[in-house]
């Protein structure tokens, strides 16, 4: 057992730390999403030029070939310094790894470089209005027409679809096959008439995600990834990658939030002192620190296990569940500390901390839904970790 970094890992961390300090572009613009996206594109290009985009990707595909620990270190450090997200986060975390794992040589040559540079943004077309947690029931159809496929249907919760060049699309190619077997994974060009996106306004007032409508949209045969009928297995790879990559960045992020929470507590009057002196708030703050630490240690244990077996296990679901709970608890506590002023939001003169906690409270409601609902994660844990019988 050794919870320290090796000298070479420390060296790597110092290198990451120094580079981020020197190149950090400052906070994201507060204007609209368009401004944020061009800011992130610029940032991603900078990352790419220094070799920090796609650090988990093998070197032959333009990545850094970093070890899992190095990936964890990079993610933790970037979050710690609150570096912006790269513009093409879905392409880097999911699209690229899928093409590398399942793509043809031609696909690798075509798609990987523009993912790394951020020149082409990717989005993920999985969920549908009637297929959320039960993803394999999806109905969007792809019908063969010569050497093309004609796609008709609707996707939803498609983050950054409005900026995307490519969509990782899972569609039904064989309506007669059992539901998991009739699916195919396509790379769909979003820039065509048959594809329409409509932003959905979230409870925060923002519009990160969209509905996407396909009406006889066309995908050439060469854009099938992993073979016709194999879409479910390919899609599962992306989801695994999503979870494995998120943990360490998320932990640093939540540690930063804990720091801000303590600051809020120290600056907020309560019971004749500050909230940081109030035994009730002290207990709650301590409990959050304890649970964040257990999440961090669980992630280390998971990483050790993954390094031994080569693949992330279903235990990753525990971390995602816990992260969602903690982000929600943390922002709920912040509003409780703010008391009556918690009623004021961004843009209000008397809003505490510029209304950041109100935003955080609202945004974190999605944490237990996005990327696998907590309820589904509990099913996964019950079935695959504990071996309990399936209801379905």
């Amino acid at each position: 057992m050794d919870l320290t970094l090796s000298p070479s890992e420390e060296e790597f961390r110092d290198e990451v730390r120094a580079w981020l300090r020197a190149n950090h572009p400052g906070p994201e613009p507060e204007a609209g999403l368009d401004e944020v996206m061009s800011f992130r594109r610029e940032w991603q290009l900078k990352l790419h030029e220094a070799g920090w985009a796609g650090i988990s990707w093998p070197q032959e595909y333009g990545g850094r070939g970093a070890t899992m620990i190095e990936q964890a270190i990079f993610a933790a450090e970037a979050s710690r310094q609150e570096a912006p997200a790269p513009a093409n986060v879905l392409g880097l975390a999911m699209g690229g790894p899928v093409v590398i794992a399942h793509g043809t040589e031609e696909q690798k040559a075509r798609y990987l470089e523009p993912i790394l540079t951020g020149e082409e943004i990717w989005c993920q077309g999985f969920s549908e209005p009637e297929s959320g947690s039960d993803l394999a029931s999806l109905k969007t159809r792809a019908v063969k027409d010569g050497d093309e496929w004609v796609v008709t249907g609707q996707k939803v919760w498609t983050t950054f679809a409005q900026y995307a060049k490519w969509c990782m699309l899972v569609a039904r190619t064989d309506p007669d096959a059992p539901k998991h077997q009739g699916l195919t994974y396509f790379l769909m060009d979003m820039e065509q008439d048959g594809v329409q996106t409509r932003p959905l306004v979230q409870i925060t007032g923002e519009g990160e995600f969209n509905e996407v409508f396909f009406e006889e949209a066309r995908v050439p045969d060469e854009n099938v990834v992993g073979g016709v009928g194999n879409g479910w297995a390919v899609a599962i790879t992306t989801l695994m990658n999503e979870r494995a990559g998120l943990a360490f960045g998320a932990i640093s992020q939540i540690q930063n939030s804990l720091g801000r929470l303590s600051k809020l507590a120290r600056e907020t009057p309560s019971n004749g002192g500050t909230a940081a002196d109030d035994p009730y708030f002290r207990q709650r703050i301590a409990q959050l620190h304890i649970e964040v630490e257990t999440m961090r240690l669980n992630a280390y244990r998971g990483l050790t296990k993954t390094m031994q077996s080569g693949i992330p296990g279903p235990e990753g679901s525990l971390g995602k569940w816990q992260w969602a709970d903690l982000n929600q608890d943390l922002t709920e506590l912040a509003l409780e500390i703010e008391g009556a002023y918690s009623m004021l939001a961004r843009g209000s003169e008397h809003a505490v901390a510029g209304g950041a906690w109100q935003y955080g409270f609202l945004r974190s409601r999605a944490n237990s839904i996005e990327g696998g609902t907590t309820d589904i994660l509990k099913n996964i844990i019950a079935e695959r970790v504990l071996g309990l019988p399936r209801l379905r």
Partner: protein, 375 residues
């Protein structure tokens, strides 16, 4: 970075697991729990032969010289098997003597503690004052070449089988008092945990010669011992939680209602998932703290409090959830679950409860963050 047991630690775990599973079946635990003293002499001898009594004591005093991680491994298995044993109290007393005793005291007691011939237990909390870590009321009255102790220690573990008490006094000292010393009376209490007996120990004009008082103030040597005691009992609670979870999963697969195993229903399976989350968190916190004890002592106090706070809650909540999963049978004396609930609940209150440790965590993290903000 490697957060898993080494092969050697894994070997300790499986040896302990197999030995305890074969020796401490339900019927045997019930026999010991129903006995007058709650002490199982044969079981203790066997554990001592395995080297457990001196596992973490220095080799030069007859121990095995192993670390806190190994101690946590062992106590997790002790909790899993719910063994009625003075191993915990004996270990803590031994660690305190190793940390704070002079060589003469170490030589006199540690080899015997390590071999299991002698049993020792800490007698820390005093009747009449808040039963919290660090609050001591008993006076040590100077008397010639030594002190005289008067007062009543409460909530003393395994006192009936103990040969030696490690007694705390309000002046910050620790004294070694043998059970047969004049003026010592053990008064057994009724503990909720039948597998770990608690007693009061009365001291009436008990003379302690200076050679039996540990030199110096306990503040200089006792905090790391206390932290390791917290890690050990938190490890035990983790084992308790794991066992309750295993019972529940097995039952949920087996028990049929409405034509299906109850584990297929989300009300049950999600409860089990929650139990797993709490058990795994508890385990991570325990081994993180155990590692800190051995490798990064400056972070031990915070890590130990985090582990003890978390495991205090999980150690009884998981068995509590297990009873719900089992329904009526879980509420019967006949089923073993209640022993686990009771041990978990008692462990939660020993060596500082979750609230006490959370306050220590708050103190540490708020100070750290204030320092960072001012830097």
């Amino acid at each position: 970075m490697y957060f898993d047991l080494t092969d050697e630690q894994q070997a300790i775990k499986s040896t302990a697991h197999d030995f305890l599973a074969s020796r401490f079946k339900s019927e045997r635990i019930r026999e010991i729990a129903a006995g007058a003293s709650g002490f199982d002499e044969n079981g203790w001898k066997e554990m001592a032969e395995l080297g457990w009594a001196g596992l973490a004591l220095p080799e030069e005093w007859g121990g095995q010289g192993l670390g806190t991680v190994e101690l946590a491994v062992l106590f997790e298995e002790m909790g899993y098997a719910l063994v009625p044993s003075p191993l915990l109290s004996n270990t803590i007393a031994g660690l305190a003597i190793a940390a704070g005793g002079n060589d003469e005291q170490r030589q006199r007691y540690l080899p015997q503690l390590a071999s299991g011939e002698l049993l020792a237990t800490p007698a820390l909390m005093d009747a009449g004052v808040p039963a919290e870590p660090g609050i001591f009321a008993m006076a040590a009255r100077e008397d010639g070449d030594g002190v005289v102790l008067d007062g009543e220690k409460t909530l003393v573990m395994d006192a009936a089988s103990a040969d030696l008490f490690l007694v705390a006094t309000a002046d910050g000292r620790r004294h070694l008092v043998e059970q047969d010393a004049a003026g010592v009376t053990v008064v057994p209490e009724e503990s909720i945990d039948l597998t770990r007996r608690l007693s009061s120990v009365r001291f009436e004009g008990v003379r302690v010669t200076s050679e039996n008082t540990l030199p110096g103030s306990a503040e200089t040597y006792f905090p790391p011992v206390f932290s390791r005691a917290c890690v050990a009992i938190a490890a035990e609670s983790t084992g308790v939680a794991q066992r309750a979870l295993d019972f529940s999963v097995a039952y949920a697969k087996d028990r049929q209602q409405f034509g299906r195993p109850i584990g297929a229903y989300q009300a049950v399976s999600h409860r089990c998932a929650q139990m797993l989350l709490e058990t795994e968190n508890s385990r991570s916190a325990v081994y993180g703290a155990a590692w800190a004890a051995d490798a990064e002592p400056e972070s031990l106090p915070l890590a130990a409090s985090m582990a003890k706070a978390y495991a205090s809650d999980a150690g009884w909540r998981v068995p509590d959830a297990a009873i719900q999963v089992h329904g009526g049978i879980g509420f019967t004396w006949e089923h073993d679950l209640h022993f686990f609930l009771k041990r978990g609940r008692a462990n939660a209150a020993m060596f500082g409860d979750a609230k006490w440790h959370r306050e220590r965590v708050a103190e540490a993290v708020l100070a750290r963050e204030t320092a960072a903000a001012n830097a």
